[in-house]
Every structure is written in C-alpha cells, then in structure tokens.
C-alpha cells in the first residue's frame, strides 16, 4: 500500500535533485565556499536514486541513471579538469594532475555512494562495469589518455635533472607514478607501456652518453667508483619513487651501458686497467671490480683471465730470475740445487699466499678465480729452473727444512706451516711421481745418515702428502720411517747377542740398519771388495740374523756405510770419519806403502767413477790423507798414492766428506721405467673392464687414471699400446684399426 501511495518521480524531476547534489560536490572539490555534506543530504540523494530505480516500468530509470552517472564525470572533466591541465606545463602540470586525480577519486567515492543502489542490483544483474570502475575509467579515457605522453616526458626530464644533481620533488614523482599504477586498476600495463619503457630507454641513452665520456676521461678506478655510485643511486631512486618492479630492469640497463659495453676497454686501460690494479696491488679497486663485473653476464670471465695472465707472468718472472741467478754461478756448483733455487721455492710460496688471499678477499672465493690461480701456477710450476725440474726443487726444499741444521732456524709452527704450503704447491706439479722419487732419495739420506732433525715433522709431512696424493703415494715413505724404528730395535738385540756370545764378537763396533727392499730407493750392492776385518763383521751379523729369521735374504749395501777409523799419523793419532769405500781404500795402505791407481781399483773392485771420486776426497780435497804423485788437482789412471804420515789437523776427530754421486739422472730413469709399468697397468685395467675400446678413448681414460701422479705423454701411451699388442694383451680389431680388443 505504501508504495502505491508514494508519488512516482519522473526522470527530469529526480535528476534535477541529483544535479544539485552533484554541483555541491563539485563546488567542494573546486574549493568554493559550500557547507559539507551532512548525513541527511546523503540519505536524500541515495533515497532518490533508490526510488527512481525501484519504480515500476516504464518509470524504472536505472539505465538512464547509470548513463547519467558517467556523463556527470565526463562533463566535469571536460569543463573543469582538462582546461586547467591544458594550461599548465611541466612540474606545474604534474602537480595539477596529482591534485585532479585526488579530487577525482574523492568524486568517485561520493558519487558512487549516491548511486550505490545501481551497484547492488542493476549492475550486478546486467554484468556492467561497477560504478567505481566507471568513474576511474572516465578519468583514464579522457585525462590520462590525452596527457600521459606529456606527463611521462615531464617525469623523465625531472629524473634526468636529479641524475645531474639537482634537487627535485620526489614526493611529487612518487604521486604521479602512482597514477600510472592505479590507472591500470590492478594491471601494470599502463605503467609499463606508457612510462617504464620510455624511462628505460632514456636511462640507457643517458648512461650511454655518460659512459662514452667517462671511458675516455677517467681512469679505471675512477670509472668504477662512478659506476658503483650510479648503480647505488638508481637503486635508491627505485625505492623512493619508482615501482619496485622496475628495479631489476633499471639496474640491468645501467649495468649494460656502464659496464657491459665498455668491459674490455675498461679492463684493459693501459695505465689503470685490471693489469695495472693487479700490478699495484690495488686491493680495494679489485674488490670493486669484482662486485661490478659479477653483476653482468659472463662479466667475470675476462677479469679471471687477466688475473691468470698476471699470476702466470709474475711466476714466470720468478722462474727467469732464478734462472739468471743460477746461470751466473753455474760454473762453481753445477747440478747441486743451490741457495738460489731454495729462494725460488720460497718466493713461489709467497706468490701463492699473496694471490690466494686475493682470490679469497677481493674475488669472494669465486671458483672461477680459484681455477685461474690453479692454471697459472700449473704453467710456471712445471717449467723447472736451470735444468732442475720443479719436482726436484720442491723435494730439495723439503729436505733443507727437514734435515739437521737446515738453512733456516724456524719455529715448529713455522716449519709446519711451510710444509703445508709446499704440499699445496705440489698440487700444481704434474710430475708428482718424480717428486716422490726425489723425496724418497732425500728421505733415505736423512734417515740413514741420521740427518733428520725431527721425527714429528717427518711424519707430519707424510700425513699431509697422504691427504693430498693418497695412501699409495706415501706408503713406501712410511715404510722407510718404520724400517728405521725397527732397525734400532734390531740393533739392540744384536748387541745383546754379541754380549751373550763373546766368541762371536768381531772386535769392531758394528751397527747394521736392516731395510725392507722395495720401500727404499735401489742402490748398488755387493760391489766392494771388503777388507778382511769387515768381512768378519758381516759374517757375524749374518749368523745373528739367521737366528732371527730363516727365510730372509740379506743384501749388503756398502755404498751407504760409514766407518770411524783411527789414523796413526806421526804428529798425533786421529779419528777419521769416512765412508766404507774410503775406509776400505785407506786400509789397503796398512799392507803397502805405495799403491798405483790401477792396483787400488783392482783390490777394491770398484768402477772408475767410484775410485776417482774416493781418491779425490782422500788426496785432492781439504784433508790430504794420501799423497798423490804427481801432485795435481785431479785423479788420473796413472797416478801413484802414498800414505801421508805427516798429516795432522787442529781437531782430533775429522770427517772426510765424499761428495755424493749426482743421482738426478738415475732418479729420472727410474721414474721413466715406473711410468712404463704404470701405463701398461692402466691400459690393461681399462681394457680388462671394457673389452673393446676405441684408441682415443683408451688414451683419454688412461690419461685420466694416471693424471693424479703424472701427465703421460700421448706418444708414450701409444708406444705402450703397441708393446701390449706385441705381447698379446691386446689386438687391433680386424675391421677397424682404431679399435682395440682385450685378449684374456
């Protein structure tokens, strides 16, 4: 009944009422004097719409009101908003836009409340755009579409001003850019297409311009400082007024223009580029370089490459230095690894410390730089100095540290640290087997002649070597150290044996070190004709050893023996510490006053080399126990020798050194032989499991298997394969000569 009673409102009448409300709203927005809406005003406006939409057709004006709603915005925009925007420019235009946008949103909020009833039924039922959207779309279609180009240019120009160091109203930009985002009603499309793309393009152009000047004017460190600063500022810019989604794109653009485009030019700047920074130890600049270039794709590759070149050059310079030093003094001391070479190893260790620190600190421990360091060291560490391979140099270096009275007085910690570093360097040496062989030779000397300074250090370096190169690498060396401990026990039980068998006592103090064949380097055995006194010693020990074990065979190595003998010289009796060879030669003079070279040689049963060496040590060196005729500095086969009974010395006890034979050649030969076995074994192992394999693959697998110990030469492998074919381990496939078969 109530509905019927109510008077029908027609469109014109109703709209007139609404117009008043809308005008009042506009006035408020324009800042004209107008009282605020009270809730009664609002109720009235809402009710009017409600009524006009709920009247029976044809008086349901929903559609018309929906249209009028839109028209109200359009009318307001066209009459007020656009003219005021059009007459303003640049920053002022931006401010006006922001103000208008804020107003517009207020207007949308109010109007959509008045018309709210449309949203509830009419719009929902017809699936029309809701009121809020219609309101915002009006602004987009009429205002935004018209001026977004101008706005964009104004914003970009402000950004550029800020890049040039001017102060700008960041809040304003933030507001303007929010419009680009909000206008998308949830889609970023407008921001991206209408603003971001152009902004990125401008950024690229801006920095391209800058970079092209900087690269010419600035040094590499200055350029990098600027680049880092720019990147920081751009990041800052994003956080202040750009949308966060722009950060990555913006930084990429800047990095591209500042770094990628000029990467090689920058890195290779003659007086300040990467080479110069490394040369001058500019650690901070290098760290900056790492930070910057790690940001661009494959940016670190050239840096790592220059680093490698630099370290290689430094190392090669050390090699050259040592080479020059060696050739200056070559005449005096050939073939003996001298002090210069020791200094060389020291310097290589220092070089490694230095650049490892670079890798860790400047280059953030990046694997690329570890690889460069490794490759660089592999280049010059395998060069060798003055005819000595680096394997030998390292082994000698260790020997000098580990032997008694080694060249340096170092604390235990320092020794440990140095050993650790030498072992680290060993990783770069491809001939690890050669190192092992030299090391073993020197270890043998240290152990057998009681020259080792400290048992703990000996064991400690073996542990380190074992960790790095595997158990097989050190098993013989460990065996040697153990042998010596066993030998000491054996000696004391020999002494007990002598005490309990006084008849067996040969009357000479005898110490025998029993070693295990295989652990030790190979030595000449049974060569010397032992003097009768000593023959007895040997027999006594043999008898003793028989009591301990039946199945072991003793091989005597006289070349490693030492004797203490008394020399009854006219001035005084002296104790001479000599080798068994020297002692045997001297004892010959108990029976004869004068002997010729050939007589001595015949009686001793030694080679010319050995005889010359030992006679020289007794007649031409510091202590002249024998007089030689003619009295010259060298030994010749026609010389005659006589006991020098007038000999004397300040000391009562003297050691007459016998210079060791140069073992280098033998070591290298031994290693070559071992390598042949190793290659054979590796090929057979591979073929046994693969049965049929192509040549190239076989070579590759073989190199891989053996690489931990040495770098086998392709030719050597080929030769071994051919040898194995001859020995019927392999055959060539009948149809494919590049294919091998394993013959079981």
């Amino acid at each position: 009944m109530a509905a019927n009673e109510k008077k029908t409102i027609d469109l014109e009448q109703g709209w007139e009422f609404m117009q008043k409300g809308i005008t009042k709203l506009k006035n408020i927005l324009e800042g004209l004097p107008e009282p605020q809406f009270c809730s009664e005003d609002y109720m009235m406006l809402y009710t009017t719409i409600y009524n006009m939409c709920t009247q029976k057709p044809p008086h349901d004006y929903s559609q018309q009101l929906y249209d009028k709603y839109r028209e109200s915005f359009e009318e307001y925009i066209t009459s007020s908003v656009l003219p005021s925007l059009r007459e303003k420019h640049d920053e002022f235009m931006l401010r006006e836009l922001v103000r208008r946008w804020v107003n517009h949103k207020v207007m949308v909020r109010w109007l959509s409340r008045f018309f709210h009833y449309l949203d509830r039924y009419f719009i929902t039922r017809r699936s029309l755009p809701p009121l809020n959207e219609v309101g915002l779309t009006c602004f987009r279609d009429l205002v935004y579409q018209e001026i977004n180009g101008k706005v964009r240019d104004a914003v970009i120009s402000l950004i550029d001003q800020e890049r040039e160091g001017e102060q700008i109203d960041r809040a304003l930009l933030k507001n303007v850019l929010d419009i680009f985002v909000e206008i998308g009603l949830g889609s970023m499309e407008f921001y991206q297409n209408d603003f971001e793309a152009a902004m990125l393009k401008d950024t690229a152009a801006y920095y391209s311009r800058k970079a092209s000047n900087w690269i010419l004017e600035d040094s590499c460190p200055d350029y990098m400082l600027k680049a880092e600063e720019c990147l920081k500022r751009e990041k800052d810019r994003v956080s202040h007024y750009l949308h966060s989604s722009s950060e990555q794109k913006l930084l990429e653009k800047v990095q591209h223009e500042l770094l990628f485009v000029y990467a090689s030019q920058l890195l290779e700047k003659e007086h300040s580029g990467c080479h110069a920074l490394l040369r001058d130890d500019k650690v901070e600049d290098l760290s900056r370089m790492y930070r910057l270039f790690s940001r661009i794709p494959r940016g670190l590759d050239p840096v790592a490459n220059i680093f490698k070149q630099h370290v290689t050059a430094e190392g090669t310079a050390l090699v050259k230095q040592a080479e020059d030093a060696a050739s200056n003094k070559k005449a005096e001391k050939r073939d003996v690894v001298g002090v210069q070479e020791q200094i060389f190893v020291r310097k290589v260790i220092e070089l490694h410390d230095k650049y490892l620190a670079y890798v860790n600190d400047c280059f953030n421990n990046h694997s690329l730089f570890h690889k460069s360091l490794k490759e660089a060291f592999e280049v010059f560490c395998n060069k060798g100095v003055a005819g000595s391979s680096s394997a030998e140099l390292l082994a000698t270096f260790c020997d000098n540290i580990l032997k008694k009275g080694g060249s340096e007085k170092l604390s235990d910690e320092a020794i440990e640290e140095t050993l650790e570093k030498v072992v680290k360097l060993l990783a770069y040496i491809s001939d690890k087997d050669l190192f092992a062989e030299f090391y073993r030779k020197k270890l043998a000397r240290r152990l057998l002649f009681d020259k080792s300074a400290n048992d703990d250090h000996e064991r400690s370096i073996l542990t380190k070597l074992k960790q790095q190169c595997g158990g097989q690498f050190t098993s013989k060396m460990e065996g040697m150290v153990t042998d010596l401990t066993l030998a000491r026990e054996n000696q004391s039980s020999f002494e007990d044996y002598l005490n309990s068998n006084p008849l067996a006592n040969p009357g000479i103090d005898l110490t025998v070190t029993v070693l295990t064949t295989g652990f030790w380097p190979s030595y000449k055995s049974f060569d010397l004709n032992l003097p009768a006194e000593m023959v007895k010693c040997v027999e006594v020990f043999k008898d003793f050893y028989q009591t301990k074990t039946k199945h072991r065979k003793l091989t005597w190595i006289y070349s490693l023996g030492t004797c203490n003998i008394n020399g009854k010289f006219e001035p005084k009796t002296m104790e001479l510490i000599v080798t068994t060879y020297q002692a045997s030669a001297l004892l010959l003079f108990n029976a004869s006053d004068k002997l010729s070279y050939s007589e001595i040689m015949a009686q001793l049963n030694l080679t010319d080399d050995d005889v010359v060496r030992l006679l020289h040590s007794l007649s031409c060196a510091k202590y002249k126990i024998l007089n030689k005729e003619p009295n010259t500095k060298t030994i010749s086969p026609t010389d005659q020798f006589e006991f020098n009974s007038k000999f004397t010395d300040r000391m009562r006890r003297i050691k007459i050194p016998l210079p060791p034979v140069d073992e280098k050649k033998k070591v290298i030969e031994d290693v070559d032989k071992d390598r042949r076995y190793a290659i054979d074994a590796s090929i057979v192992r591979i073929m046994k499991s693969r049965k049929v394999l192509g040549h190239q693959q076989l070579v590759m697998e073989c190199v891989e298997q053996l690489g931990r110990m040495f770098k086998p030469d392709f030719k050597a492998i080929k030769k071994r394969i051919e040898d194995l074919i001859t020995r019927d381990y392999l055959e060539r496939d009948k149809d494919n000569p590049n294919m091998f078969r394993y013959l079981a």
Binding site: K715, K718, E722, I725, T726, P737
Partner: protein, 223 residues
C-alpha cells in the same frame, strides 16, 4: 684408388686345393708333383732344404730373393724359412695346379700379377712377416730385414712411399725392429694415405707411433 679389402673376391689358392681327389687326373697330378719333389729333396730328411731350393730357383730361372719365391712359400704355407716339407710342397703345387716346372713358372708369374688386386694381399703381406721370424718367441724383425721385405713385398706397388719409408727407417734410432702390428700398419698406411700430400693423415688415430714419426719427418723435409 688403392685396392680395398672388399674388392673382387678370389679364392686364396691355398684354400682351393684340388682334392676332388677321387678323380684319376688328380691322382696323376699328385704323382707328378711328388716326382718333382723328389728331384729337389734332401734324401735324408724328405724335405727340400736350402740347397734344394737353390737348385729349384736356378731351374725356374728366378733369384731366390725374388718375391715369387716368397709367394710360392705362401701358397705352400711353408713354416720354416729355407725348407719345404713334402706336405707343404703338395699343398702349394696342387693349389697352383702345377705339376711341371713349366707350369709352376707360369703359375708363379700369374700369381705375381694377380695378387695385388685381390683381398688376399693382406694375407700374403702378414705371412711374409711371420715367415721371416726364425727364432722361437721372436716377435719382431730387425730394421734391415724389414727394409728388404718392404722392397720385395709392397715396394713394387707403392714405390715412392716405400723409398721414403726405407730412407727414414735407416736414419732413425728409436726403433731397432718392427712388430707385426707395425708391419700391418705400414700396408694400411700405403693403401689409405695420400702420398706425398699426407693431408688425410690423422695423428690422433691409432697409427703406430713409428708412422707418426715418419709423417713428422716427411713434413720436415718437405718444408
């Protein structure tokens, strides 16, 4: 084009022994072959010894170092240098269908011409190597023998390669002798590699090392 392994297949003479034995002709042939054998054999050992071979050579009017003698040994599958057993003699001459000296002469020169184009050449080539191994357990031939054998066996076919190779073998010091595998490799080299261009030689293939060295040397002297 060098001859390939799969070119026209001819039966190896040794395999086609004419023992369709029942026929009268065959028996007659064998008889004559045996008669021939008794002309040269050493009566004490029922074998043709070096002396007998020398007589045979002069009757055939060929030198005992002629490649045809090597081919004859090959058809017989003779085991021991300088000796033909009765069994070997029968096998060889039956295969050649030669029961008179004249026929043998003819058969040998035909063999000399024909063997090049057949896939059995490899067989002859490796036989020639093994034939020269005289000692028990011997696996390689000294360089001097190798050079003679090269001249004899593949020299006629690959003259320029073999001349250069022999020159090289005589000045190098690394190898004192060659194995069968290396010997086989040389034939394959002659058959497959352009000479003297050597452009299709690939060092990374499994060529015997001595050929790598040879090629290196060739390239040096060509410069």
């Amino acid at each position: 084009m060098p001859p390939r392994r799969n070119s026209r297949s001819t039966n190896p003479p040794a395999a086609s022994s004419a023992v369709s034995a029942t026929s009268k002709a065959a028996i007659k042939e064998l008889e004559r072959i045996n008669n021939l054998f008794s002309l040269y054999r050493d009566p004490n050992s029922d074998t043709i010894d070096p002396e007998g071979i020398e007589t045979l050579c002069s009757d055939l009017k060929i030198d005992h170092t002629d490649v045809r003698m090597l081919m004859l040994a090959w058809t017989m599958r003779a085991k021991r240098q300088g000796y033909f057993t009765r069994e070997e003699w029968q096998r060889g001459l039956q295969a050649l269908h030669a029961d008179t000296l004249g026929k043998l002469q003819k058969a040998l020169s035909q063999l000399d011409k024909g063997v090049w184009n057949s896939n059995i050449f490899e067989n002859f080539h490796s036989y020639s190597f093994s034939f020269c191994l005289t000692e028990e357990g011997q696996r390689s031939l000294d360089i001097e023998t190798i050079c003679e054998l090269l001249n004899l066996v593949i020299g006629p076919r690959y003259r320029s390669q073999i001349d250069k190779l022999i020159e090289f073998l005589k000045i190098q010091h690394e190898y004192k002798g060659l194995s069968l595998d290396q010997w086989t490799g040389i034939l394959r080299f002659c058959q497959e590699i352009n000479f003297p261009g050597l452009d299709n030689y690939d060092e990374s293939c499994a060529w015997p090392l001595i050929l790598d060295n040879f090629v290196e040397w060739m390239k040096k002297i060509q410069k």
